[in-house]
Amino acid sequence: MKKNITIKAEKLSKCYRIGLKDKIHDSVGGAILDFITSPLENYRKYRSLYIFDDKYDQNKDDDFDDADDIIWALKGISFEVREGEVVGIIGRNGAGKSTLLKILSKITIPTTGRAKIRGRISSLLEVGTGFHQELTGRENVYLNGTILGMRKTEISAKFEEIVAFSGVEKFIDTPVKRYSSGMKVRLAFAVAAHLEPEILLIDEVLAVGDAQFQKKCINKMEDVGQQGRTVIFVSHNMPAVTRLCQRVILLENGRILMDGPSAEVVSSYLHSEKGISTCREWPNLHRAPGNESVRLCAVRVIADDGQTSDTFDIRKPVGIEMEYEVLQPDHIMLPYITLTNENGTRIFSAVDLDPDWRGRCRHCGRYVSTAWISGNFLSEGIHFVGAAMKSEARKGRYFYERDAIAFRIIDTLAENTARGDYGGRLKGVVRPQLKWDTRYHQKQANRSL
């Protein structure tokens, strides 16, 4: 049986007017004249920011050109969400994610199009909206709860539960200004987590709080989804999106680029981003990165069978292959790779250690250097590879292509990983399989007597 439609958006679009830049005068007279006439100018300028009457009725033909000072943040978006679905919305900054959420949560109105929403809706664009430093935790729970649309009686009924979830029982009657930022977030999220809407709109709020608390929140949100509630979740946190959502909508430039199963959409998004693939080649040597001494020809990610691959099992080794052409002999060159994760954290940099080439000058010709990253070392997620050629000098380098290619590590929860028997989230930039040793000392019953 198909579930009811809870959200139906039809050709939603939103345009903003960006202020035109100020004029620059080239004479004192001009400046004075401008000063006199500027109130009128300013009035027109600030008024124009919100007058779109010409846009409301026109635009039947879906003409979303960004004219002069107009920007279309959303360009005719249509989609449907059914009861109980957890839908992720991803996309680059400026793709229209937040605008869409703001329209659905009634914060702003669309320029054209319409949306119908069935059921009680709550939006969480920020944790702790309306929190006030001078008020105590208890007072803020009530204040924040009512701002999010709860009734006072509702909050009173759930108060104990909210406080227990937040874990700040001891400080509940202390002004929030004495809280650590983590405590504030916990309390704020605890309030939000106890909302009981039929539809929940969430924007990037999991980006705060410590790992343990994040997990708690994710679990709580998963519960929300399982209770038949509809959740729309905007995030940059791809692992969280993949874990929480069955379906993901990818926005680009105000349009829906993809809408489908989360794994598919997320991986396509990550690959399209920055135009990165698992293999990059520079067929024209003159235009390739480098200089007259050496030029980069290709960078690839390969599996242990030598084939390029974009996705790797967490247990498998990953090979980074760098192909380059040395054009001038008698230089000592050090192939060098960098690995960065999707949050932009540099995981490591590594330099060629091949004993055959240590301290040796290279002849002209083509070389292929491969670095093998062992299995059970990298963490889950997308990894970006940079390729460089360094010289022995401290800062000398011939070329450096950062984020040239990317690959993805997935944890299939199979045997023989760093995960062992643990099913939860293993946070960290790497996930090495360490050698563990646990010794058992039998308790000697007599000793305590």
Partner: protein
């Protein structure tokens, strides 16, 4: 932003009425009706926000709520010296302290709530962009929260009245009318000005001296009877005149000067109702122009 409730019968047939709540989001143009039911649904929020304002205002102060007494008290003393003793303004025979307390207490309330209310959207812009609740809550809340200060400062009037042995008269029965005016005037002004202030920040800069000017447009330091008859109607179109004259008459038991009051009541109603509609009309652009 029209919340179209499900039809009447469905509401009764279905036990879980909220399931059928359909919200339609679409472009909005022109004048809108004011959704009083929605405002009523958010009544808890009104109270909590007003309560927050009160609590926060005197947080970490030594004098606390005494400030609510101190501010008007000092103004009464200064006015009594400057206008009562030095300038010797005519007060129709009423002791100046008594004369000015009956005016300064409501005036302090109105001026304070007007200026806070007109800045309410600008000050609340962060919340404005993050969550939806009826926008009208912003300008109305300060008008409510300042009522607490007002009630406290009424003690001054009681004190002064006892000192001058002024006894309550039947005029006091008219007080609810003027309390009503006292509230709707700053609420009306607040709705007009807050929706302008979010678009044009000039309001913030103009507000302090407008308040300074307003104090002289109403019979606060002088008596309304000193206004020439030819200008009386125009003068009394100012709703503040109605409130001040009405208050004085209620508290001091003088004859109610209705000719100064009727025009003001009409302008006050216009200010309030017009303000509400204007606010509602402008509401849709607030977030986009922050």
């Amino acid at each position: 932003m029209n919340s179209i409730g499900s039809n009447f019968f469905q509401n009764w047939i279905n036990t879980d009425a909220s399931k059928n709540n359909i919200t339609v989001i679409k472009p909005i143009k022109g004048w809108q009706i004011i959704n009083l039911k929605e405002l009523w649904d958010f009544r808890d929020l009104f109270l909590f926000l007003a309560w927050r304002d009160i609590k926060v205002l005197y947080a970490q102060t030594i004098l606390g709520f005494s400030w609510a007494l101190l501010q008007p008290l000092i103004q009464i003393i200064i006015f009594s010296i400057v206008f009562g003793k030095v300038a010797k303004v005519s007060t129709d025979g009423i002791p100046y302290v008594l004369f000015s307390s009956a005016a300064i207490i409501p005036w302090t309330y109105m001026s304070q709530s007007m200026s806070v209310s007109s800045q309410s959207l600008v000050l609340g812009q962060h919340m404005l962009g993050k969550i939806y609740f009826p926008r009208m809550i912003f300008p109305i809340t300060p008008v409510l929260s300042k009522l607490v200060d007002f009630s406290i400062s009424l003690l001054i009037i009681v004190g002064v009245a006892i000192y001058f042995r002024v006894y309550p008269t039947f005029n006091l029965l008219y007080l609810p009318i003027f309390l009503f005016l006292l509230i709707i005037i700053p609420a009306g002004v607040g709705m007009w000005l807050s929706s302008m202030a979010i678009r044009f920040r000039d309001v913030k800069l103009a507000m302090p001296f407008v308040i300074h000017i307003l104090i002289y447009t109403a019979p606060i330091v002088y008596s309304a009877s000193s206004i020439p008859d030819t200008y009386r109607f125009i003068y009394s179109l100012n709703p503040i005149v109605a409130v001040i004259e009405g208050f004085r008459s209620c508290l001091l038991g003088t004859t109610m000067p209705w000719h100064f009051i009727w025009p003001g009541i009409l302008t006050a109603l216009f200010l309030f109702i017009g303000g509400a509609f204007y606010f509602k009309r402008m509401e849709r652009v607030f977030v986009d122009v922050i």
